[in-house]
Amino acid sequence: MPPLLELSAVTKRFGGLVANKDVSLAIGAGEIVGLIGPNGAGKTTLFNCLTGYLHPDAGRIVFAGADVTHARPERVCGLGIARTWQLVRTFGRMTVLENVVCGALKRHSRVGAARQRAWHLLEFTGLAPKADVLAANLTLADKKRLEIARALATEPRLLLLDEAMSGLTPAEMAAAVELVRRIHAELGLALCVVEHVMEVVMPLSQRVVVLDYGEVIAEGPPAEIARNEQVIKAYLGEHYRGR
Protein backbone atom coordinates (compact mmCIF):
# COMPACT_ATOMS: atom_id res chain seq x y z
CA MET A 1 0.00 0.00 0.00
CA PRO A 2 1.40 3.43 -0.84
CA PRO A 3 2.05 5.83 2.05
CA LEU A 4 -0.56 8.45 3.01
CA LEU A 5 1.73 11.33 2.09
CA GLU A 6 4.63 11.17 -0.28
CA LEU A 7 7.04 13.95 -1.21
CA SER A 8 9.46 13.34 -4.05
CA ALA A 9 12.41 15.68 -4.59
CA VAL A 10 10.54 18.78 -3.43
CA THR A 11 12.53 21.98 -3.99
CA LYS A 12 11.46 25.47 -2.96
CA ARG A 13 13.53 28.56 -3.67
CA PHE A 14 13.11 32.16 -2.52
CA GLY A 15 15.24 34.06 -5.01
CA GLY A 16 18.77 32.76 -4.46
CA LEU A 17 17.92 31.00 -1.22
CA VAL A 18 17.04 27.32 -1.44
CA ALA A 19 14.65 26.73 1.47
CA ASN A 20 13.93 23.09 0.60
CA LYS A 21 16.25 21.05 -1.61
CA ASP A 22 15.26 17.68 -3.05
CA VAL A 23 13.24 16.74 0.01
CA SER A 24 11.82 13.26 -0.28
CA LEU A 25 9.92 11.68 2.55
CA ALA A 26 6.83 9.62 3.23
CA ILE A 27 4.36 9.47 6.09
CA GLY A 28 2.22 6.38 6.55
CA ALA A 29 -1.36 6.29 7.83
CA GLY A 30 -1.41 6.53 11.61
CA GLU A 31 2.29 7.30 11.94
CA ILE A 32 3.88 9.99 14.15
CA VAL A 33 6.84 11.62 12.45
CA GLY A 34 9.03 14.23 14.13
CA LEU A 35 10.53 16.91 11.91
CA ILE A 36 13.53 18.63 13.50
CA GLY A 37 16.35 20.89 12.49
CA PRO A 38 17.95 24.23 13.34
CA ASN A 39 16.22 27.56 12.82
CA GLY A 40 15.99 28.32 9.12
CA ALA A 41 16.36 24.68 8.12
CA GLY A 42 13.14 24.88 6.08
CA LYS A 43 10.66 23.09 8.33
CA THR A 44 7.92 25.72 8.15
CA THR A 45 8.52 26.22 4.42
CA LEU A 46 7.96 22.50 3.97
CA PHE A 47 4.71 22.71 5.98
CA ASN A 48 3.61 25.64 3.82
CA CYS A 49 4.29 23.63 0.66
CA LEU A 50 2.41 20.65 2.06
CA THR A 51 -0.66 22.72 2.91
CA GLY A 52 -0.86 24.77 -0.29
CA TYR A 53 0.30 28.14 1.06
CA LEU A 54 3.44 27.82 -1.08
CA HIS A 55 4.00 25.73 -4.17
CA PRO A 56 7.27 23.88 -4.80
CA ASP A 57 9.47 24.94 -7.72
CA ALA A 58 10.23 21.30 -8.45
CA GLY A 59 9.15 17.91 -7.20
CA ARG A 60 5.83 16.36 -6.41
CA ILE A 61 3.55 16.03 -3.38
CA VAL A 62 0.98 13.25 -3.38
CA PHE A 63 -1.58 12.87 -0.59
CA ALA A 64 -3.94 9.87 -0.48
CA GLY A 65 -3.43 9.32 -4.20
CA ALA A 66 -4.12 12.94 -5.19
CA ASP A 67 -1.43 15.26 -6.57
CA VAL A 68 -1.52 18.31 -4.29
CA THR A 69 1.70 19.96 -5.53
CA HIS A 70 -0.20 22.99 -6.81
CA ALA A 71 -3.42 22.71 -4.80
CA ARG A 72 -4.81 25.67 -2.83
CA PRO A 73 -5.01 25.45 0.99
CA GLU A 74 -8.79 24.91 1.04
CA ARG A 75 -8.51 21.92 -1.31
CA VAL A 76 -5.65 20.40 0.70
CA CYS A 77 -7.81 20.74 3.81
CA GLY A 78 -10.73 19.12 2.02
CA LEU A 79 -8.55 16.14 1.10
CA GLY A 80 -7.62 15.63 4.76
CA ILE A 81 -4.51 17.55 5.80
CA ALA A 82 -4.92 19.97 8.70
CA ARG A 83 -2.32 22.12 10.41
CA THR A 84 -1.58 24.42 13.29
CA TRP A 85 0.66 27.48 13.24
CA GLN A 86 3.92 28.39 14.93
CA LEU A 87 2.45 31.86 15.61
CA VAL A 88 -1.15 31.11 16.52
CA ARG A 89 -3.89 32.05 14.09
CA THR A 90 -7.03 31.64 16.15
CA PHE A 91 -10.05 33.81 15.30
CA GLY A 92 -9.62 36.32 18.13
CA ARG A 93 -13.02 38.02 18.01
CA MET A 94 -14.94 34.75 17.96
CA THR A 95 -15.57 32.49 20.95
CA VAL A 96 -13.73 29.21 21.48
CA LEU A 97 -16.84 27.29 20.38
CA GLU A 98 -17.31 29.44 17.26
CA ASN A 99 -13.67 28.89 16.26
CA VAL A 100 -14.19 25.12 16.29
CA VAL A 101 -17.59 25.44 14.57
CA CYS A 102 -15.77 27.15 11.67
CA GLY A 103 -13.58 24.08 11.33
CA ALA A 104 -16.50 21.66 11.60
CA LEU A 105 -18.39 23.49 8.83
CA LYS A 106 -15.94 21.91 6.38
CA ARG A 107 -17.78 18.59 6.77
CA HIS A 108 -21.20 19.72 8.04
CA SER A 109 -22.74 22.63 6.18
CA ARG A 110 -25.54 23.03 8.74
CA VAL A 111 -24.47 25.11 11.73
CA GLY A 112 -26.42 22.92 14.17
CA ALA A 113 -24.57 19.76 13.16
CA ALA A 114 -21.25 21.61 13.12
CA ARG A 115 -21.93 22.94 16.62
CA GLN A 116 -22.60 19.43 17.90
CA ARG A 117 -19.37 18.16 16.36
CA ALA A 118 -17.49 21.15 17.81
CA TRP A 119 -18.78 20.36 21.31
CA HIS A 120 -17.40 16.83 21.06
CA LEU A 121 -13.99 18.22 20.18
CA LEU A 122 -14.10 20.82 22.97
CA GLU A 123 -14.75 17.98 25.39
CA PHE A 124 -12.01 15.86 23.81
CA THR A 125 -9.47 18.67 24.11
CA GLY A 126 -10.66 19.84 27.55
CA LEU A 127 -11.69 23.29 26.29
CA ALA A 128 -15.40 22.83 26.98
CA PRO A 129 -15.39 24.99 30.17
CA LYS A 130 -14.03 27.88 28.08
CA ALA A 131 -16.47 27.49 25.20
CA ASP A 132 -17.86 31.02 25.49
CA VAL A 133 -14.53 32.82 26.01
CA LEU A 134 -13.27 35.01 23.16
CA ALA A 135 -10.23 33.35 21.61
CA ALA A 136 -8.19 36.55 21.98
CA ASN A 137 -8.53 36.26 25.77
CA LEU A 138 -7.07 32.73 26.06
CA THR A 139 -3.60 31.87 27.35
CA LEU A 140 -1.03 30.84 24.75
CA ALA A 141 -1.36 27.20 25.78
CA ASP A 142 -5.13 27.32 25.31
CA LYS A 143 -4.81 29.14 21.98
CA LYS A 144 -2.54 26.36 20.74
CA ARG A 145 -4.98 23.77 22.07
CA LEU A 146 -7.82 25.61 20.33
CA GLU A 147 -5.94 25.52 17.03
CA ILE A 148 -5.61 21.76 17.42
CA ALA A 149 -9.34 21.40 18.17
CA ARG A 150 -10.23 23.59 15.18
CA ALA A 151 -7.92 21.59 12.92
CA LEU A 152 -9.40 18.30 14.17
CA ALA A 153 -12.87 19.62 13.39
CA THR A 154 -12.04 19.50 9.67
CA GLU A 155 -11.71 15.71 10.12
CA PRO A 156 -8.18 15.30 8.77
CA ARG A 157 -6.24 12.09 8.22
CA LEU A 158 -2.93 13.88 8.71
CA LEU A 159 -2.32 16.64 11.26
CA LEU A 160 0.73 18.88 10.97
CA LEU A 161 1.74 20.54 14.26
CA ASP A 162 4.13 23.48 13.84
CA GLU A 163 5.77 23.99 17.26
CA ALA A 164 2.64 23.28 19.25
CA MET A 165 4.73 23.21 22.45
CA SER A 166 6.98 26.25 22.05
CA GLY A 167 6.49 28.97 24.64
CA LEU A 168 4.60 26.69 27.04
CA THR A 169 5.45 26.04 30.70
CA PRO A 170 6.65 22.49 31.56
CA ALA A 171 3.22 21.61 32.98
CA GLU A 172 1.41 22.96 29.90
CA MET A 173 3.86 21.09 27.69
CA ALA A 174 3.14 17.81 29.46
CA ALA A 175 -0.60 18.37 28.97
CA ALA A 176 -0.03 19.13 25.27
CA VAL A 177 2.04 15.96 24.80
CA GLU A 178 -0.74 14.00 26.47
CA LEU A 179 -3.25 15.52 24.01
CA VAL A 180 -1.08 14.63 21.01
CA ARG A 181 -0.79 11.04 22.25
CA ARG A 182 -4.56 10.83 22.64
CA ILE A 183 -5.12 12.23 19.14
CA HIS A 184 -2.87 9.49 17.82
CA ALA A 185 -4.26 6.69 19.93
CA GLU A 186 -7.98 7.50 20.01
CA LEU A 187 -8.51 9.22 16.65
CA GLY A 188 -5.88 7.21 14.76
CA LEU A 189 -4.51 10.19 12.88
CA ALA A 190 -1.11 10.43 11.27
CA LEU A 191 0.89 13.29 12.75
CA CYS A 192 3.89 15.26 11.65
CA VAL A 193 5.37 17.26 14.51
CA VAL A 194 7.82 20.14 14.13
CA GLU A 195 9.39 20.78 17.51
CA HIS A 196 12.52 22.25 19.05
CA VAL A 197 12.13 20.62 22.44
CA MET A 198 13.98 17.30 22.08
CA GLU A 199 12.57 15.96 25.36
CA VAL A 200 9.16 16.19 23.68
CA VAL A 201 9.77 15.18 20.12
CA MET A 202 12.09 12.22 20.73
CA PRO A 203 9.79 10.15 22.99
CA LEU A 204 6.71 11.14 20.96
CA SER A 205 7.90 10.25 17.47
CA GLN A 206 8.07 6.82 15.91
CA ARG A 207 10.42 8.20 13.28
CA VAL A 208 12.42 11.42 13.07
CA VAL A 209 13.43 13.37 9.97
CA VAL A 210 16.23 15.93 10.29
CA LEU A 211 16.42 18.96 8.00
CA ASP A 212 19.50 21.16 7.69
CA TYR A 213 19.93 23.95 5.12
CA GLY A 214 16.78 22.67 3.42
CA GLU A 215 18.00 19.13 2.95
CA VAL A 216 17.14 15.87 4.71
CA ILE A 217 20.38 14.91 6.45
CA ALA A 218 19.08 11.98 8.47
CA GLU A 219 15.98 9.88 8.98
CA GLY A 220 15.24 7.02 11.34
CA PRO A 221 14.01 5.92 14.77
CA PRO A 222 14.63 8.51 17.54
CA ALA A 223 17.29 6.46 19.31
CA GLU A 224 19.31 6.16 16.12
CA ILE A 225 18.97 9.88 15.30
CA ALA A 226 20.19 10.82 18.78
CA ARG A 227 23.46 8.98 18.08
CA ASN A 228 23.91 10.26 14.52
CA GLU A 229 27.19 12.23 14.36
CA GLN A 230 26.00 14.52 11.56
CA VAL A 231 22.79 15.41 13.43
CA ILE A 232 24.66 16.07 16.69
CA LYS A 233 27.01 18.40 14.85
CA ALA A 234 24.32 20.24 12.86
CA TYR A 235 21.62 20.52 15.47
CA LEU A 236 21.49 18.55 18.70
CA GLY A 237 24.85 19.70 20.09
CA GLU A 238 27.34 17.79 22.20
CA HIS A 239 25.27 18.00 25.38
CA TYR A 240 22.60 15.77 23.87
CA ARG A 241 25.02 12.89 23.09
CA GLY A 242 24.47 9.69 25.03
CA ARG A 243 21.13 10.58 26.60
Binding site: P73, R89, R93, M94, A153
Partner: protein, 349 residues
Protein backbone atom coordinates in the same frame (compact mmCIF):
# COMPACT_ATOMS: atom_id res chain seq x y z
CA UNK B 1 -30.55 32.53 33.62
CA UNK B 2 -28.68 35.67 32.70
CA UNK B 3 -28.73 34.68 29.03
CA UNK B 4 -32.50 34.25 28.91
CA UNK B 5 -33.19 37.53 30.74
CA UNK B 6 -30.74 39.23 28.36
CA UNK B 7 -32.65 37.78 25.45
CA UNK B 8 -35.94 38.95 26.95
CA UNK B 9 -34.56 42.47 27.29
CA UNK B 10 -33.36 42.35 23.68
CA UNK B 11 -36.81 41.26 22.53
CA UNK B 12 -38.43 44.05 24.55
CA UNK B 13 -36.04 46.59 23.01
CA UNK B 14 -36.86 45.23 19.54
CA UNK B 15 -40.63 45.45 20.16
CA UNK B 16 -40.28 48.99 21.51
CA UNK B 17 -38.17 50.00 18.52
CA UNK B 18 -40.65 48.57 16.02
CA UNK B 19 -43.59 50.29 17.72
CA UNK B 20 -41.74 53.58 17.92
CA UNK B 21 -40.70 53.33 14.28
CA UNK B 22 -44.27 52.56 13.18
CA UNK B 23 -45.83 55.29 15.30
CA UNK B 24 -43.26 58.01 14.62
CA UNK B 25 -44.85 59.67 11.56
CA UNK B 26 -48.48 59.41 12.68
CA UNK B 27 -48.73 62.44 15.02
CA UNK B 28 -46.84 64.53 12.48
CA UNK B 29 -49.14 63.54 9.63
CA UNK B 30 -52.04 65.70 10.88
CA UNK B 31 -49.93 68.83 10.97
CA UNK B 32 -49.31 68.50 7.25
CA UNK B 33 -45.66 69.30 7.85
CA UNK B 34 -43.77 66.32 6.41
CA UNK B 35 -40.15 67.43 6.85
CA UNK B 36 -39.60 65.01 9.73
CA UNK B 37 -41.03 62.14 7.67
CA UNK B 38 -38.29 62.79 5.16
CA UNK B 39 -35.66 62.83 7.90
CA UNK B 40 -37.09 59.48 9.03
CA UNK B 41 -36.95 58.16 5.48
CA UNK B 42 -33.27 59.16 5.21
CA UNK B 43 -32.54 57.53 8.58
CA UNK B 44 -34.16 54.28 7.43
CA UNK B 45 -32.51 54.14 4.01
CA UNK B 46 -29.06 54.89 5.48
CA UNK B 47 -29.65 52.34 8.23
CA UNK B 48 -30.52 49.75 5.59
CA UNK B 49 -27.41 50.55 3.55
CA UNK B 50 -25.29 50.42 6.72
CA UNK B 51 -26.70 47.00 7.62
CA UNK B 52 -25.74 45.89 4.10
CA UNK B 53 -22.26 47.42 4.29
CA UNK B 54 -21.69 45.64 7.59
CA UNK B 55 -21.58 42.32 5.71
CA UNK B 56 -18.44 43.13 3.71
CA UNK B 57 -16.99 45.72 6.12
CA UNK B 58 -17.98 44.46 9.57
CA UNK B 59 -18.26 40.69 9.18
CA UNK B 60 -15.82 39.92 6.36
CA UNK B 61 -13.55 42.78 7.46
CA UNK B 62 -12.89 44.15 3.96
CA UNK B 63 -13.21 47.92 3.68
CA UNK B 64 -15.39 48.71 0.71
CA UNK B 65 -15.63 52.40 -0.20
CA UNK B 66 -17.42 51.86 -3.48
CA UNK B 67 -20.80 50.28 -2.73
CA UNK B 68 -22.56 53.34 -4.22
CA UNK B 69 -21.77 51.75 -7.60
CA UNK B 70 -24.34 49.07 -6.79
CA UNK B 71 -26.76 51.68 -5.44
CA UNK B 72 -26.56 53.24 -8.91
CA UNK B 73 -26.88 49.91 -10.74
CA UNK B 74 -30.05 49.13 -8.79
CA UNK B 75 -31.54 52.57 -9.35
CA UNK B 76 -30.76 52.59 -13.08
CA UNK B 77 -31.91 49.01 -13.73
CA UNK B 78 -35.34 49.58 -12.19
CA UNK B 79 -35.72 53.03 -13.76
CA UNK B 80 -34.85 51.80 -17.26
CA UNK B 81 -37.17 48.83 -16.99
CA UNK B 82 -39.94 51.13 -15.74
CA UNK B 83 -39.45 53.85 -18.37
CA UNK B 84 -38.84 51.62 -21.40
CA UNK B 85 -40.76 48.44 -20.61
CA UNK B 86 -43.23 49.59 -17.99
CA UNK B 87 -42.06 46.90 -15.58
CA UNK B 88 -43.32 47.17 -12.00
CA UNK B 89 -40.72 48.82 -9.72
CA UNK B 90 -40.83 45.82 -7.39
CA UNK B 91 -39.85 43.47 -10.23
CA UNK B 92 -37.38 46.16 -11.24
CA UNK B 93 -35.95 46.00 -7.74
CA UNK B 94 -35.52 42.25 -8.07
CA UNK B 95 -33.81 42.75 -11.45
CA UNK B 96 -31.64 45.53 -10.02
CA UNK B 97 -30.58 43.37 -7.10
CA UNK B 98 -29.69 40.48 -9.40
CA UNK B 99 -27.82 42.76 -11.82
CA UNK B 100 -25.86 44.36 -8.96
CA UNK B 101 -24.96 40.97 -7.49
CA UNK B 102 -23.83 39.62 -10.86
CA UNK B 103 -21.75 42.68 -11.76
CA UNK B 104 -20.35 42.80 -8.21
CA UNK B 105 -19.23 39.17 -8.41
CA UNK B 106 -17.49 39.73 -11.76
CA UNK B 107 -15.78 42.95 -10.68
CA UNK B 108 -14.86 41.86 -7.16
CA UNK B 109 -13.30 38.47 -7.92
CA UNK B 110 -10.10 39.98 -9.37
CA UNK B 111 -10.00 42.55 -6.54
CA UNK B 112 -9.86 39.81 -3.90
CA UNK B 113 -6.23 39.22 -4.84
CA UNK B 114 -5.64 42.50 -2.99
CA UNK B 115 -5.75 42.82 0.76
CA UNK B 116 -6.16 45.54 3.37
CA UNK B 117 -5.67 49.08 2.15
CA UNK B 118 -5.10 47.88 -1.39
CA UNK B 119 -8.52 46.23 -1.55
CA UNK B 120 -10.09 49.41 -0.17
CA UNK B 121 -8.35 51.57 -2.77
CA UNK B 122 -9.43 49.24 -5.57
CA UNK B 123 -13.10 49.60 -4.56
CA UNK B 124 -12.66 53.39 -4.84
CA UNK B 125 -11.09 52.88 -8.26
CA UNK B 126 -14.14 50.94 -9.46
CA UNK B 127 -16.34 53.82 -8.34
CA UNK B 128 -14.11 56.28 -10.24
CA UNK B 129 -14.47 54.15 -13.37
CA UNK B 130 -18.25 54.05 -12.92
CA UNK B 131 -18.60 57.86 -12.90
CA UNK B 132 -17.59 58.62 -16.51
CA UNK B 133 -19.57 55.59 -17.66
CA UNK B 134 -22.65 56.94 -15.92
CA UNK B 135 -22.06 60.44 -17.30
CA UNK B 136 -21.50 59.48 -20.93
CA UNK B 137 -23.40 56.28 -21.68
CA UNK B 138 -26.24 57.33 -24.01
CA UNK B 139 -28.36 54.26 -23.31
CA UNK B 140 -28.97 55.61 -19.81
CA UNK B 141 -29.15 59.24 -21.03
CA UNK B 142 -25.65 60.17 -19.83
CA UNK B 143 -25.41 63.03 -17.38
CA UNK B 144 -29.02 64.08 -18.07
CA UNK B 145 -30.25 60.94 -16.36
CA UNK B 146 -33.68 59.37 -16.41
CA UNK B 147 -36.90 60.91 -15.21
CA UNK B 148 -39.50 58.60 -13.81
CA UNK B 149 -43.01 59.57 -14.94
CA UNK B 150 -45.85 59.46 -12.43
CA UNK B 151 -48.36 56.74 -13.11
CA UNK B 152 -51.15 58.20 -11.00
CA UNK B 153 -52.02 54.92 -9.31
CA UNK B 154 -55.11 54.93 -7.10
CA UNK B 155 -55.28 54.10 -3.40
CA UNK B 156 -52.76 52.84 -0.90
CA UNK B 157 -52.37 49.46 -2.62
CA UNK B 158 -51.97 50.98 -6.06
CA UNK B 159 -49.42 53.47 -4.82
CA UNK B 160 -47.49 50.76 -3.01
CA UNK B 161 -47.58 48.46 -6.04
CA UNK B 162 -46.21 51.18 -8.30
CA UNK B 163 -43.84 52.50 -5.58
CA UNK B 164 -45.17 55.98 -6.26
CA UNK B 165 -46.69 58.03 -3.50
CA UNK B 166 -47.88 61.56 -4.17
CA UNK B 167 -49.43 64.55 -2.46
CA UNK B 168 -49.98 64.59 1.27
CA UNK B 169 -49.11 60.93 1.75
CA UNK B 170 -45.91 60.93 -0.31
CA UNK B 171 -43.48 61.25 2.62
CA UNK B 172 -45.55 58.88 4.75
CA UNK B 173 -45.70 56.20 2.06
CA UNK B 174 -41.97 56.18 1.38
CA UNK B 175 -41.27 56.17 5.11
CA UNK B 176 -43.21 52.93 5.57
CA UNK B 177 -41.74 51.28 2.47
CA UNK B 178 -38.24 52.10 3.77
CA UNK B 179 -39.26 50.76 7.17
CA UNK B 180 -40.42 47.50 5.59
CA UNK B 181 -37.29 47.12 3.47
CA UNK B 182 -35.05 47.76 6.48
CA UNK B 183 -36.99 45.10 8.40
CA UNK B 184 -36.64 42.63 5.54
CA UNK B 185 -32.90 43.34 5.27
CA UNK B 186 -32.39 42.83 9.00
CA UNK B 187 -34.38 39.59 8.96
CA UNK B 188 -32.50 38.13 5.97
CA UNK B 189 -29.09 39.19 7.23
CA UNK B 190 -29.83 37.76 10.66
CA UNK B 191 -30.27 34.41 8.92
CA UNK B 192 -26.97 34.96 7.07
CA UNK B 193 -25.21 35.92 10.31
CA UNK B 194 -26.11 32.62 11.95
CA UNK B 195 -25.41 30.48 8.90
CA UNK B 196 -22.19 28.99 7.55
CA UNK B 197 -21.65 32.25 5.64
CA UNK B 198 -21.66 34.34 8.82
CA UNK B 199 -19.08 32.09 10.45
CA UNK B 200 -16.85 32.01 7.35
CA UNK B 201 -16.99 35.81 6.86
CA UNK B 202 -15.85 36.44 10.42
CA UNK B 203 -13.15 33.75 10.19
CA UNK B 204 -11.67 35.52 7.14
CA UNK B 205 -11.83 38.85 8.96
CA UNK B 206 -10.03 37.52 12.05
CA UNK B 207 -7.30 35.57 10.22
CA UNK B 208 -7.33 34.92 6.51
CA UNK B 209 -4.53 32.32 6.49
CA UNK B 210 -6.07 30.56 9.47
CA UNK B 211 -9.40 30.50 7.64
CA UNK B 212 -7.89 29.04 4.48
CA UNK B 213 -6.19 26.38 6.60
CA UNK B 214 -9.56 25.04 7.76
CA UNK B 215 -10.79 24.85 4.20
CA UNK B 216 -12.34 28.27 3.57
CA UNK B 217 -11.91 29.64 0.05
CA UNK B 218 -11.27 33.22 1.13
CA UNK B 219 -11.66 34.75 -2.34
CA UNK B 220 -15.00 33.04 -2.96
CA UNK B 221 -16.44 34.09 0.40
CA UNK B 222 -15.24 37.68 0.02
CA UNK B 223 -17.05 37.80 -3.32
CA UNK B 224 -20.21 36.39 -1.70
CA UNK B 225 -20.00 38.91 1.15
CA UNK B 226 -19.61 41.87 -1.18
CA UNK B 227 -22.41 40.62 -3.44
CA UNK B 228 -24.76 40.55 -0.44
CA UNK B 229 -23.74 44.13 0.33
CA UNK B 230 -24.33 45.01 -3.34
CA UNK B 231 -27.82 43.49 -3.20
CA UNK B 232 -28.85 45.68 -0.26
CA UNK B 233 -27.41 48.79 -1.92
CA UNK B 234 -29.22 47.99 -5.17
CA UNK B 235 -32.56 47.67 -3.37
CA UNK B 236 -31.88 50.98 -1.59
CA UNK B 237 -31.02 52.61 -4.91
CA UNK B 238 -34.34 51.57 -6.46
CA UNK B 239 -36.26 52.99 -3.51
CA UNK B 240 -34.30 56.24 -3.64
CA UNK B 241 -34.72 56.62 -7.41
CA UNK B 242 -38.51 56.28 -7.21
CA UNK B 243 -38.62 58.62 -4.24
CA UNK B 244 -36.63 61.25 -6.16
CA UNK B 245 -38.55 60.50 -9.41
CA UNK B 246 -35.22 60.74 -11.20
CA UNK B 247 -31.98 58.86 -11.55
CA UNK B 248 -28.87 60.65 -12.70
CA UNK B 249 -25.18 59.87 -12.23
CA UNK B 250 -24.14 62.63 -9.83
CA UNK B 251 -27.03 61.78 -7.55
CA UNK B 252 -26.81 57.98 -7.29
CA UNK B 253 -23.00 57.82 -7.51
CA UNK B 254 -22.60 60.44 -4.77
CA UNK B 255 -19.86 59.56 -2.29
CA UNK B 256 -22.33 60.15 0.55
CA UNK B 257 -24.05 56.86 -0.33
CA UNK B 258 -21.02 55.10 1.07
CA UNK B 259 -19.70 57.52 3.69
CA UNK B 260 -22.99 58.00 5.55
CA UNK B 261 -23.79 54.26 5.86
CA UNK B 262 -20.16 53.51 6.80
CA UNK B 263 -20.16 56.24 9.45
CA UNK B 264 -23.48 54.98 10.78
CA UNK B 265 -22.01 51.47 11.00
CA UNK B 266 -18.82 52.55 12.75
CA UNK B 267 -20.58 54.89 15.18
CA UNK B 268 -23.31 52.36 16.02
CA UNK B 269 -21.09 49.29 16.27
CA UNK B 270 -19.23 47.69 13.40
CA UNK B 271 -19.81 43.95 13.00
CA UNK B 272 -23.06 44.05 14.99
CA UNK B 273 -26.29 43.50 13.08
CA UNK B 274 -28.11 46.42 14.76
CA UNK B 275 -25.09 48.74 14.96
CA UNK B 276 -25.80 50.62 11.69
CA UNK B 277 -29.46 51.13 12.69
CA UNK B 278 -28.45 52.80 15.93
CA UNK B 279 -25.75 54.79 14.15
CA UNK B 280 -28.17 56.07 11.50
CA UNK B 281 -30.78 57.01 14.13
CA UNK B 282 -28.13 59.14 15.86
CA UNK B 283 -26.16 60.60 12.94
CA UNK B 284 -28.71 61.40 10.24
CA UNK B 285 -30.98 63.60 12.40
CA UNK B 286 -27.91 65.40 13.78
CA UNK B 287 -26.77 66.17 10.23
CA UNK B 288 -30.25 67.39 9.29
CA UNK B 289 -30.56 69.53 12.42
CA UNK B 290 -27.09 70.97 11.87
CA UNK B 291 -27.84 71.96 8.30
CA UNK B 292 -31.22 73.53 9.14
CA UNK B 293 -29.92 75.46 12.16
CA UNK B 294 -26.23 76.24 11.61
CA UNK B 295 -26.53 76.02 7.82
CA UNK B 296 -28.95 78.97 7.72
CA UNK B 297 -28.97 82.44 9.23
CA UNK B 298 -25.93 84.62 9.74
CA UNK B 299 -23.45 81.73 9.48
CA UNK B 300 -24.95 80.24 6.31
CA UNK B 301 -22.73 79.19 3.46
CA UNK B 302 -19.58 78.76 5.52
CA UNK B 303 -19.99 75.04 6.14
CA UNK B 304 -20.16 75.49 9.95
CA UNK B 305 -22.80 72.76 10.08
CA UNK B 306 -20.47 70.28 8.40
CA UNK B 307 -17.60 71.21 10.74
CA UNK B 308 -19.72 70.68 13.86
CA UNK B 309 -21.09 67.45 12.41
CA UNK B 310 -17.56 66.23 11.70
CA UNK B 311 -16.42 67.08 15.24
CA UNK B 312 -19.33 65.07 16.70
CA UNK B 313 -18.36 62.02 14.64
CA UNK B 314 -14.68 62.34 15.61
CA UNK B 315 -15.67 62.59 19.28
CA UNK B 316 -17.83 59.44 19.15
CA UNK B 317 -15.13 57.54 17.24
CA UNK B 318 -12.43 58.63 19.69
CA UNK B 319 -14.41 57.93 22.84
CA UNK B 320 -15.92 54.60 21.79
CA UNK B 321 -14.14 53.17 18.74
CA UNK B 322 -16.06 49.89 18.96
CA UNK B 323 -19.37 51.73 18.61
CA UNK B 324 -22.22 52.82 20.82
CA UNK B 325 -23.81 49.36 20.77
CA UNK B 326 -20.69 47.98 22.47
CA UNK B 327 -21.28 50.03 25.62
CA UNK B 328 -22.23 47.87 28.63
CA UNK B 329 -25.97 48.31 28.08
CA UNK B 330 -27.00 45.10 29.81
CA UNK B 331 -25.08 46.02 32.97
CA UNK B 332 -26.76 49.43 33.00
CA UNK B 333 -30.15 47.84 32.41
CA UNK B 334 -29.59 45.56 35.40
CA UNK B 335 -28.51 48.50 37.56
CA UNK B 336 -31.60 50.43 36.50
CA UNK B 337 -33.71 47.43 37.51
CA UNK B 338 -32.19 47.74 40.98
CA UNK B 339 -30.15 44.57 40.85
CA UNK B 340 -26.39 44.42 41.53
CA UNK B 341 -24.14 44.66 38.48
CA UNK B 342 -22.60 41.26 39.09
CA UNK B 343 -23.63 38.26 41.17
CA UNK B 344 -20.11 37.91 42.49
CA UNK B 345 -20.22 41.25 44.28
CA UNK B 346 -22.72 40.01 46.85
CA UNK B 347 -22.91 36.96 49.09
CA UNK B 348 -19.68 35.18 49.85
CA UNK B 349 -17.72 38.44 50.52
Amino acid sequence: MDGSSGRRRARLALAAGVLLGLAYPIPLQWSGYTYFHTVGFLVLINAMLGVGWNVIGGWAGQFDFGPQVFFAIGAYTAAILFVHVGLSPWLGMLAGVLAAMGICALVTYPLTRLRGHYFAISTVAIWMIAQPIGATWEFINGSRGLFIPMQGAQGVLGATASLQFAGRTKALGYYYVAFGLLGLTLWLLRLVEHSKLGFYFRAIRDDQEGAEGIGIDSRLYKVIARSITAAVFAAGGVLYGFWALAVFPEQVLDLNWSTLPIMATVVGGIGRLWGPVLGAVILIPISQIMSTTLGTGPLAGRGIDLIVYGVIIVLIAALRPTGILSLPWSRWARRLAGRPASGRLVGHG
